[in-house]
Symmetry: D2
Subunit: 251 residues, 4 copies
Amino acid sequence: MKVTLLTHSPEPERAVVAAALLCYQKGSPEEAWRRAGNEKLRTRLFEELVRQGHGSTLEHPSFTFGIEGISRACSHQLVRHRLASYNQQSQRYVDVGDPDYFVKPDSLADDGGRFEEVVGATVSYYRAMIEQFAEKGKKGEQAQEDSRYIIPNAGKTNLIWTTNLRNLLHVAHVRMCSRAQWEIRQMLHECRRVMEGPFPLIAKYMVVKCHPLSMGYCDEEFRSCRFRPLREDVVPSDENCPPGPGYREEV
Amino acid sequence: MKVTLLTHSPEPERAVVAAALLCYQKGSPEEAWRRAGNEKLRTRLFEELVRQGHGSTLEHPSFTFGIEGISRACSHQLVRHRLASYNQQSQRYVDVGDPDYFVKPDSLADDGGRFEEVVGATVSYYRAMIEQFAEKGKKGEQAQEDSRYIIPNAGKTNLIWTTNLRNLLHVAHVRMCSRAQWEIRQMLHECRRVMEGPFPLIAKYMVVKCHPLSMGYCDEEFRSCRFRPLREDVVPSDENCPPGPGYREEV
Amino acid sequence: MKVTLLTHSPEPERAVVAAALLCYQKGSPEEAWRRAGNEKLRTRLFEELVRQGHGSTLEHPSFTFGIEGISRACSHQLVRHRLASYNQQSQRYVDVGDPDYFVKPDSLADDGGRFEEVVGATVSYYRAMIEQFAEKGKKGEQAQEDSRYIIPNAGKTNLIWTTNLRNLLHVAHVRMCSRAQWEIRQMLHECRRVMEGPFPLIAKYMVVKCHPLSMGYCDEEFRSCRFRPLREDVVPSDENCPPGPGYREEV
Amino acid sequence: MKVTLLTHSPEPERAVVAAALLCYQKGSPEEAWRRAGNEKLRTRLFEELVRQGHGSTLEHPSFTFGIEGISRACSHQLVRHRLASYNQQSQRYVDVGDPDYFVKPDSLADDGGRFEEVVGATVSYYRAMIEQFAEKGKKGEQAQEDSRYIIPNAGKTNLIWTTNLRNLLHVAHVRMCSRAQWEIRQMLHECRRVMEGPFPLIAKYMVVKCHPLSMGYCDEEFRSCRFRPLREDVVPSDENCPPGPGYREEV
């Protein structure tokens, strides 16, 4: 797996903070943008906005990651995060019959090489079918898109993933959890790693939901890995409290 | 303001639970649907899914509310929740020049009737402009859509709002907060009230985010109304903890 | 593959038409709902709204389909439509090592039974790994989620898919195209078939984008299957025309 | 009204084309990015992707506009486009009692100055209420957010609007139409104007939906302004044609 940051909003924290300042001032958007140029103000406000969950401001900057060599099992999980944009290597247009183009989980290491054998058999079948299609005068799209039915979940894929900051933090919160599968967790850790250099203040908040810089407790109940306290350990249980403070009380 | 439940998914909790069961069983969608017909199982799982934040399952049922007579100030806030569907009374097609068609905040009660006077002046101007357009042979759309520039934020509007359950709970969490404006808070309390009869189990979870049945603490920091504990009161602060449990540790 | 309509908004066309009527009248949402009860009016307006592309009104009703026994290759395509809700049979929680649980494309029929052989080898490997995990005292989740890396794209899956009407028509427009893969096209044809009985007026508009009841021409250019005219055949080319009618001209 | 481009993806067309190339090649995301650096290839493919409606690729680049001095009537329309991000000047935090801070439609010019008089009355009331709140010891938020109920739709506002390219073109297609209100049409023309310098290839496609570079005909039926041909003028009507080409025919 290789994760790179292909491109991104030029000044992500500034976009967040300018958007917030705009709400609270009479001045123009350009003035908000100018004020957000002040580093000290920007850093302080940026962290405040993340901590207080003012999500709308976090949507302005976006990041385009190149994701190379994850399995289709993993990509199927990633694309379920719908508030983001994806383009993925197509098994219709790209020949994927290559025995080296597979992800083998570490947990299967001790199988006497049978994974590679079975993968090899799928690749042979794929190659044979591509050839059969060619003999019938069918090339390209359908040949590949039907032959690939034999390709295992382990088959590698590449994606270009664009996400705004709000969603990036959300995906980190849920996919860095021990309940997520190892491969997508690794992917998020890699995303965090490539963010650390250029955007340490953002990487800081790319944490699992139970981390003190996110929700702060675990809501997985009996499935919890106990990395951090459970919800019931920290949230005062008082189910008789009213649904909210009265809506007229401040009048 | 009047809120009604115009229509809704026939069996909302069942749809949620069937969707969850489908994930964990080999059986068909129809079998999951059948199993979710068991009331005891359904009730237990439904609450578990809400509590554990398994949001995807909550998206299957939806609710269509009729919202009548809220101000345009309030509707402008409501439509900012983008994961829902709206249709709103049009100030292009509907004549809104009616002095009774305004929301006056209670906090302005003690103004010697000036609110009504000023609103009356805006309505007179509106009426005069509609007439002037008519004299120029312009009726209907443009006459109304330009004349309405004088209509105050207080002008009433009607909406039909369809939201799935995931978003409905989210909107309750943020708009039942004392930080939200009184009118939209009232609206959410009304939505909750019309849900209580047919769907008590859902109404139960339509609470402000700091409620023990939602996030359980307040993240508004220095702006908190102190209805419930602050984040810093409950979440153990330990910023040195790693971003998440190691992704290879279970291998 | 088996598609069923598990549940749906009780009166879909009525919800669409009530939402539209609400925009154009002073009356309450309940009055709009009542007026939309008139069948003749409802039918006429419903078709007008679909034809004129007034998409916001089409979002109010939703449909929950049970999709049984499509391949993971197909489900990966389906879940890319992000304005809808999905729950899918989990390869973490469900044992998928069953040689009968695979989709074999018709185009691979003439392979002397090799597909079944290779699939059989993958299933054997899956079974062996599950056993090895069990010997190490690891059961359930990780055993299954890692062993399934060997399972081919052809592996069957079940989903519960909830979509509003706007998105349902959109998915039909793009996935009933000959450019879509045969399996997802078949799935959409099946969805259309189960809609025909209860909702013939909706099924009528579940057509490929080049159909006269949708966009009406093909924009796939050199990739077109020529089922219907190309864009260049019908749209008058006049690139010198201004970007739009002047925005002040009606003043 | 003043529209500026505050910030944007550094190389928007390149991001689009790299995302498309990634789908069709075996190479890495970085290689796709590198190949998209070729200007000739990039320009040709970019236009092809827009023309063929391959929308997913258009989502990668985004643009952050500063919108200054539009009316709240206009902003209410803009924020209805939900696949974008907004922050708006708050009438809770910002004092909007300024008689110069209003948009007067040209069509109301001939009113003998009554617009300004009525607006003046609303501002006086606003100021008086702010003062009354202050006397009761209430300042700031509630004072402003309730007093503003009297502020007309014409009241100016500022926004920061971030949209990806797919949505930007969509909003142009529907809001540059003569059926849209003059103010939001003007806003889109201004957005187009600020794009023309840095991104002429994108501005080229910011056109009304009936333009030959978009859908190419008008679907507004009897409401059409006849700027371009009607749907019925160009699309061959053949309602007996099947819903789509057969999904098995290529097998």
